[in-house]
């Protein structure tokens, strides 16, 4: 049988009449974090930070303790820097503003590109999409359907073409057509495949030929159900391309995506957006507080 109980309720039970944090509470917290894919090291670091703080401070209520806990975890997550506006309505630092979307196979890149296109379009920006996944079966056809749904043009050369050349085309056309945002969908690639990672580095170089500051953003898409391997993905992708932020997908499922805490801690990458479904509207700006609330707010028995 499955019972869901908010952590807050549990917390108030554990801390009733107590002013300090006890072992049982810390163990409970550790379990919750590990179960949310936060990872052992980061979990222990959080538990330690909380123990340290609790030594110096007094908590009169579960509510107070809860606030401290949320604070400690939230502070691991970074804000997006101002060079990469989060809000779709915000003015862009430069146009065309080129966004490269990368990640391992099946993470949700193409769907996320469509969602981003839709949002920028809604915000009144002129958008084009570049179909730089020329490898996977029907990748172009999939993206074409999405581009039509978002109502934005798609630039591509079909299966087997050189992805860097598609990107060159798209950026060139963006310059001549005064496009605001170029969204580049790339093929899924596992980070341990050197030749595929090298291909990304090449795409980066080619994008710069027309617009020297491009790509302005590289968004790494992580499947929210991914466990500890996500850290390795982030490590490798950042070696080959200048990743500026994360999109965490499939958070409409039961996974919590806690691994982004470890990625933030080690690689200082902010989460920018979250995917919460398969429809074009299912993209949200990342909200630290809500995320942490969901992370520790529920527990499965």
């Amino acid at each position: 049988s499955k019972t869901r109980e908010t952590f807050r309720e549990k917390l108030s039970v554990i801390t009733q009449g107590k002013t300090e944090i006890d072992e049982e509470f810390l163990e409970e917290l550790e379990t919750i974090l590990v179960a949310a894919d936060v990872g052992v090291e980061t979990t222990l670091a959080i538990v330690e930070a909380i123990t340290e703080r609790a030594k110096k401070e007094t908590y009169r209520s579960g509510e107070e303790l809860n606030r401290m806990l949320m604070e400690e975890i939230q502070q691991l997550l970074l804000d997006t820097d101002t060079a990469h506006p989060l809000d779709f309505d915000a003015p862009l630092p430069e146009t065309p503003y080129v966004i490269l979307v990368v990640g391992v196979n099946g993470a949700g890149k193409t769907t996320s590109v469509a969602k981003l296109a839709h949002n920028y379009d809604k915000a009144g920006k002129k958008v084009i999409i570049a179909a730089a996944d020329t490898f996977r079966a029907a990748a172009y056809e999939q993206l074409k359907i999405w581009a039509d749904r978002a109502g934005v043009p798609l630039i591509g050369q079909g299966q087997g073409a050189d992805p860097a050349s598609v990107v060159y085309d798209a950026v060139s056309s963006a310059v001549s057509r005064n496009v605001d945002v170029v969204l580049v969908d790339t093929a899924g690639r596992l980070h341990n495949k050197a030749h595929l990672m090298e291909e990304l580095a090449k795409i980066m170089r080619v994008a710069k030929k027309k617009v020297p500051t491009a790509p302005h953003e590289v968004l790494l898409v992580l499947d929210g159900t991914t466990g500890q391997n996500a850290v390795q993905q982030a490590r490798e992708f950042t070696k080959f391309v200048n990743v500026t932020g994360l999109i965490l997908t499939k958070l409409d499922g039961t996974s919590k995506g806690g691994i982004v805490l470890s990625i933030s801690r080690e690689l200082k990458l902010p989460v920018k957006y979250i995917g919460v479904g398969e429809k074009i509207d299912d993209l949200q700006l990342f909200d630290r507080e809500k995320f942490v609330e969901a992370l520790v707010g529920r527990q499965q028995e």
Partner: protein, 306 residues
């Protein structure tokens, strides 16, 4: 990524200098190492806890052979335990020879690798002298049918699909087409779905009940984290699948989710998917998986010889 479990254990026992045997004191620390290694490999925390308890029992009872260190000894015990949990031997596909066509259906979360796997399996069966038909029953994902058709061309297996967005209809007509075309195996690709999506799970259940597949395979991404068990459990409760396909093992994830799933649903892992190309399919070998999860080199064979 992180040190292998055997390195970690060697270090632990070295720190406890002078303790050349497994005892109540050093076992505690060794078990902590093992638990952390399992969690770092994405073994579900509940499964890891239970496993560590079992390993502890076995280790304490074990007499240490002179020529190996206590660390090596424990690694061997861990490895044996994991291999056994992974299911001992490889389990083949079980296709009824009488029923024509034999039916294989796949299901799983979004992006796990179902469509690619269907094409790979079709190719494999064709190579073994079968005459398969692929059916496109994912009527939701943009260009899912095109994707299967392209892959079908690559493996030279026909793909049945209909225009109408009705998965059940596609499946039933596909079955008719297979019979009419004297196909001996029907492989049904379904849409990705979340186990908490009632409407989609009901659809999968209805398809299963209508088809009565010989093999219903649950396709799971080897990079999956702690929720793999809950996902697998709920798919299993709903669909009572026959086996598991573990995908993207060409990556460097340890794949502890596989162990957790195996432990919780007690269904064999039948295939592994190891790349994007249509040939990248292999049978599942439990002891290789155990060693991958532990991140071990040849320590096991070393202890075996001792």
């Amino acid at each position: 990524m992180f040190d292998s479990l055997s390195d970690k254990l060697e270090l632990t026992f070295k720190k406890l200098a002078g303790q050349a045997t497994i005892n109540e004191i050093n076992i505690g620390i060794a078990m902590r190492d093992i638990k952390r290694a399992l969690l770092s490999a994405d073994v579900n925390y509940k499964v890891a806890k239970k496993l560590v308890e079992d390993i502890r029992e076995k280790s304490l009872g074990e007499e240490v052979i002179k020529s190996v260190s206590p660390a090596q000894m424990i690694v061997k015990i861990v490895n044996d335990e994991l291999t056994e949990l992974m299911g001992g031997e490889n389990k083949p596909l079980n296709l009824s020879p009488k029923k024509l066509p034999a039916i294989i259906m796949v299901a799983g979360l979004q992006g796990s690798g179902k469509t690619t796997f269907c094409a790979k399996l079709a190719r494999r069966l064709k190579k073994n002298g079968k005459n398969p038909l692929l059916v496109a029953a994912d009527v939701y994902r943009p260009a899912a049918i095109d994707q299967l058709k392209t892959l079908g061309e690559q493996v030279e297996v026909p793909v049945f699909s209909i225009e109408e967005p009705d998965a059940m209809k596609a499946v039933m007509q596909g079955l008719e087409a297979a019979r009419a075309g004297a196909k001996d195996v029907l492989i049904v690709d379904t849409a990705g779905r979340l186990q908490i999506d009632e409407k989609m799970m009901a659809e999968a259940e209805a398809i299963k009940n209508a088809l009565k597949p010989d093999e219903l395979l649950f396709v799971v991404d080897s990079m999956m984290g702690q929720e793999a068990v809950n996902t697998a459990r709920e798919f299993n409760e709903r669909l009572d699948f026959d086996g598991v396909v573990l995908t993207k093992l060409d990556g460097d994830a340890r794949g502890g989710a596989a162990l957790s799933i195996r432990q919780v649903v007690e269904k064999p892992i039948k295939f592994i998917s190891i790349g994007e190309k249509v040939d990248d399919l292999d049978l599942f070998y439990p002891e290789r998986m155990a060693q991958r999860i532990l991140g071990m080199g040849d320590i096991v064979s070393f202890v075996e010889k001792a």
